[in-house]
Symmetry: C2
Subunit: 187 residues, 2 copies
DNA sequence: TGCCAAGTGGAACACTGCTCCGTATATTCG
DNA sequence: CGAATATACGGAGCAGTGTTCCACTTGGCA
């Protein structure tokens, strides 16, 4: 019964254990936590972790995929409920920033690892870019955004700023920068 | 004769060799190049490199210090010659961005290494922050900048954006984002 | 010249991501 | 129920990193 995946029962169990362990370790140690630690936390060996997630980035993507989905799905709702498209833009960007800054190291996770970057970047592009694009288009139509900056440019800038902001420093607030950026879009 | 440093002649020679080697390797391999490679290029042992530069960040700072100085010194000149303080702001930021993007990995060099970050960050704060602060103040006085964003916030945002932009991607241009940011400052 | 503190080199350590393959076991079939 | 087999597991091991340590060399001075 259960999943129709051809996987063996223990394999499925281990995959779940790994996802849970990774989520826990990412919270306590940051996304850069050693693979060994995640394997240990899950109570499996190195071989197992690499069997299920060929690269650490795959694991990261798997762990956060549903949160990214939630962020993507919130877009249209915000656009419908906010008092203006630009307000929706602000709210949605806030959501994304929240997501990024509450996951220690998420945005920077792939820094050292080009493949990892591609995976995470790809997830954002696939799920979030269309959403931001819609919001941006609506805001333009309402005359609230003059700049013709592409959504990609904006999405990436936000990611980069949050990545840099991960360093703890009481005097710095990434949200201020991002607010400035959005103001810049109004032209 | 020569420097009044109490250092031995061979020590001074090695320090110079290391700086030259590091500069060369940074260009060809990026700022993240292995320490061993720099030592080999300079023809010295591991012990020597760590004697002169206790951490890789110290080496990075030493290599780029005079370029940072040049950037700092260009500030007042730009302010005097540009047709408006905001134009000077743009030009100066361009200068800084040029510096960051032409040094592969410079802005991200310290990413993995908190001490390294502090060193580089400290250099920028010490040399560049006052310059940006002056330009920003002038632009505000001329009514060209409405936002009261602190210079620190802006400087760091630029650094973070360039750090993120280091990943090669023909579709992304950090300068667009930074331009947007400056537009945002005009309020 | 001879001495010795300053300086050097590179082996060794601790840590990382990742691979490999002998072993264990879930599942299936007789 | 008991074997046969494909599937999955564990962890030792490899390659590469930054950094430390200390026996050895050498510049500069008396």
């Amino acid at each position: 019964m259960a999943e129709s995946t051809g996987k063996r029962a223990d394999a499925r169990r281990n995959e779940k254990a790994l996802l849970d362990a990774a989520a826990a370790v990412f919270v306590s140690d940051g996304v850069d936590a050693p693979v060994r630690k995640i394997a240990a936390e899950a109570g499996v060996g190195m071989g197992t972790i690499y069997r299920h997630f060929p690269t650490r980035a795959d694991l990261v993507v798997a762990v956060y995929r549903h949160q990214v989905d939630a962020c993507a799905e919130a877009g249209p709702a915000l656009l419908a409920s906010a008092e203006s498209p630009f307000a929706a833009l602000r709210s949605w960007v806030d959501l994304f920033v929240d997501f990024l800054v509450t996951k220690r190291g998420l945005a920077a996770a792939s820094r050292n690892d080009p493949d990892g970057f591609a995976a995470l970047h790809g997830l954002f592009l696939e799920r979030l870019l269309p959403v931001l694009d819609d919001i941006l288009a609506a805001a333009r139509e309402a005359g609230e955004v003059k700049s013709d900056v592409p959504a990609y440019q904006l999405l990436r800038a936000i990611g980069d700023i949050c990545a840099g902001a991960e360093r703890v420093d009481p005097g710095y607030d990434a949200r201020i920068t991002i607010g400035l950026l959005l103001d810049g879009c109004r032209g």
